[in-house]
């Protein structure tokens, strides 16, 4: 099914692969969460990862981010070295000013200039010297986004980064992310619970069920027509085990 869909979307298959995971197995205390996940993300591709709670979405993401040292498992992973992670919480260091959070860990002399540009992109240039605790939740998440951008990542790994935000801020953040991604063209793996969010943002939707990727569809055409959107929404929800009423 996936291969058919891929052949239809012209050109994309020839794009370079940014992420390749093969046979990813992960276990926690003998309980196997991932049963051999295969995953490929192309350069500039925005992939949403859906799945029930506890299905292993964060486990995949953490494996790709290199944050699962000590976790039992097998498989091969190839990811770009320039990658950045967006967590559900903004994870700003409270003892560093906004600007210093953005430049955290950077050496090069024009890191600051880059950070100022990134803050401008997320429309926070006026809060450069603020303490993180004085920002609203949405503003904090925008700083986290700037912290990612300034590293010019080839891969962004996002684990429900907007799920704690209110509906309005959330829509603004989604637009901002799309806008920034179209300009910087990173590969993105975006974990979310929200089917509509995944359709609004992604070129491709993956669903993980019982420890493997059970659904893999290009969904780029959804933005063109509301009926396509609705059709995908129903299909995905059904795949997630939420039966849809027949109209």
């Amino acid at each position: 099914m996936a291969s058919v869909a891929r052949a239809v979307v012209k050109g994309l298959t020839r794009r370079e692969v940014a992420v390749r995971a093969r046979g990813l197995v992960r276990r926690f205390h003998g309980n196997t969460v991932l049963h051999g996940v295969n995953l490929e993300i192309h350069k500039g591709e925005f992939v949403a990862l859906l799945g029930k709670s506890g299905s292993g979405k964060s486990t995949i993401l953490r494996a790709l981010a290199g944050l699962d040292e000590g976790v039992d498992g097998t498989g091969t992973i190839a990811v770009p070295s320039r990658r950045s992670v967006l967590f559900q919480d903004s994870r700003l260091l409270p003892w560093k000013k906004v600007i210093d959070n953005v430049t955290l860990g950077l050496d090069d002399p024009d890191a600051r200039a880059g950070a100022l540009r990134a803050l401008e992109e997320v429309e926070l240039q006026h809060r450069t010297d603020a303490w993180p605790k004085t920002l609203s939740g949405g503003e904090q998440q925008r700083v986290a986004l700037a912290r990612s951008l300034v590293r010019r990542p080839e891969l962004i790994l996002a684990d429900e980064p907007f799920s704690a935000l209110d509906a309005l801020t959330r829509i603004r953040m989604q637009r901002l992310l799309l806008d920034l991604c179209s300009r910087h063209q990173p590969a993105v793996l975006f974990v979310t619970h929200d089917v509509e969010e995944s359709l609004r943002l992604a070129d491709r939707v993956l669903i993980i069920t019982d420890g493997i990727v059970s659904y893999d569809e290009k969904t780029e055409d959804v933005r063109a027509s509301p009926t396509r959107f609705e059709a995908y929404r129903t299909e995905i929800l059904e795949h997630l085990g939420v039966p849809q009423r027949q109209h």
Binding site: A65, G66, L67, R83, S84, V85, F87, D89, R91, L93, P94, W95, K96, L104, G105, W131, P132, K133, R147, R151
Partner: protein, 281 residues
């Protein structure tokens, strides 16, 4: 303004009476007024003044503030006070400096490496169980009754709370910050500088305040036991000669020193930890 439209007709909404919307229940104490902490001691001095002026207590037991003030002026004029004060301050500062550095460095080493932890932590915990003052006889045997012994007693007393609190803060660093450090590929040096040390500072300051208090306590003890100078020496001499006003003067000086050093630490703490929003705004 929605309040207005929701209020029953004919009834004035509360918000028009006061300064806007009704405020919710206050759960925190009111913000402190500057110098508020001085107020209590001033009241006690006032009471003391009245008590001695009214001869409620015998002057031999409790001389009035005036007598203490006279003693103060006299000891200043003879230079005795300046000398004793300087000696005391020097001991306290040296002991504090050594104790703070030792406690902090040991805490960072123990907090960051398993080896450090196994070597240091157990020993400090055992040391913690032995009251500092119980070590004085041993210290006298090892170091004599000179300045070194006094300073070491103070330093050890300071080291323990600094170590315990800094170490606890280090050990409870939020794992999420460690992960963040990994994802932005911090070097170990940067990790210590940008995450470990700032995260341990709140604990360090808790320890510092305890340590400063501990330094004065240790100072009093070592100066009262074995000294030929210092405020403690002045007090024990005065006791021998029945000069109650000098004893009181010494106590007041200890009080002022303790109080102002604690205030100084609070000020520094507030500066350094200005990123925190706490009750003490």
């Amino acid at each position: 303004m929605t309040l207005v439209s929701f209020s029953p007709p004919g009834e004035r909404p509360d918000s028009e009476v006061g300064r806007g919307a009704p405020t919710s229940v206050r759960l925190l104490p009111k913000p402190s007024i500057p110098g508020q902490r001085i107020l209590g001691p001033v009241l006690v001095i006032l009471l003391w003044y009245v008590a001695s002026a009214q001869q409620w207590v015998s002057p031999a037991k409790l001389p009035g503030p005036a007598a203490v003030l006279t003693a103060f002026n006299e000891t200043i004029a003879t230079g005795v006070l300046a000398n004793d004060l300087l000696m005391s301050l020097q001991r306290a500062a040296l002991g504090l400096g050594i104790g703070v550095s030792l406690g902090f460095v040991l805490a960072v080493i123990a907090g960051l490496s398993r080896f450090g932890d196994s070597v240091i932590d157990g020993n400090v915990q055992v040391k913690r169980a032995i009251p500092n003052l119980a070590l004085i006889p041993l210290f006298i045997i090892w170091l004599g009754i000179g300045e070194t012994m006094k300073i070491m007693v103070i330093a050890l007393g300071v080291m323990v709370p600094i170590y315990i609190n800094t170490h606890a803060a280090l050990r409870s660093i939020d794992r999420r910050y460690v992960e963040l450090g990994q994802t932005v590929a911090l070097t170990r040096k940067r990790f210590v500088r940008d995450i470990v040390i700032p995260a341990s500072l709140p604990g360090f300051f808790t320890g510092l305040r305890l340590g400063v208090t501990g330094a004065w306590t240790a100072l009093v003890v070592v100066e009262t036991i074995n000294a030929t100078s210092g405020i403690g020496y002045m007090i024990s001499q005065a006791r021998t000669y029945g000069q109650t006003e000098l004893v009181l003067l010494g106590l007041i000086i200890y009080g002022v020193l303790g109080f102002s050093s604690d205030a100084a630490v609070r000020i520094i703490e507030r500066r350094v930890l200005s990123w925190r929003q706490s009750l003490e705004q």
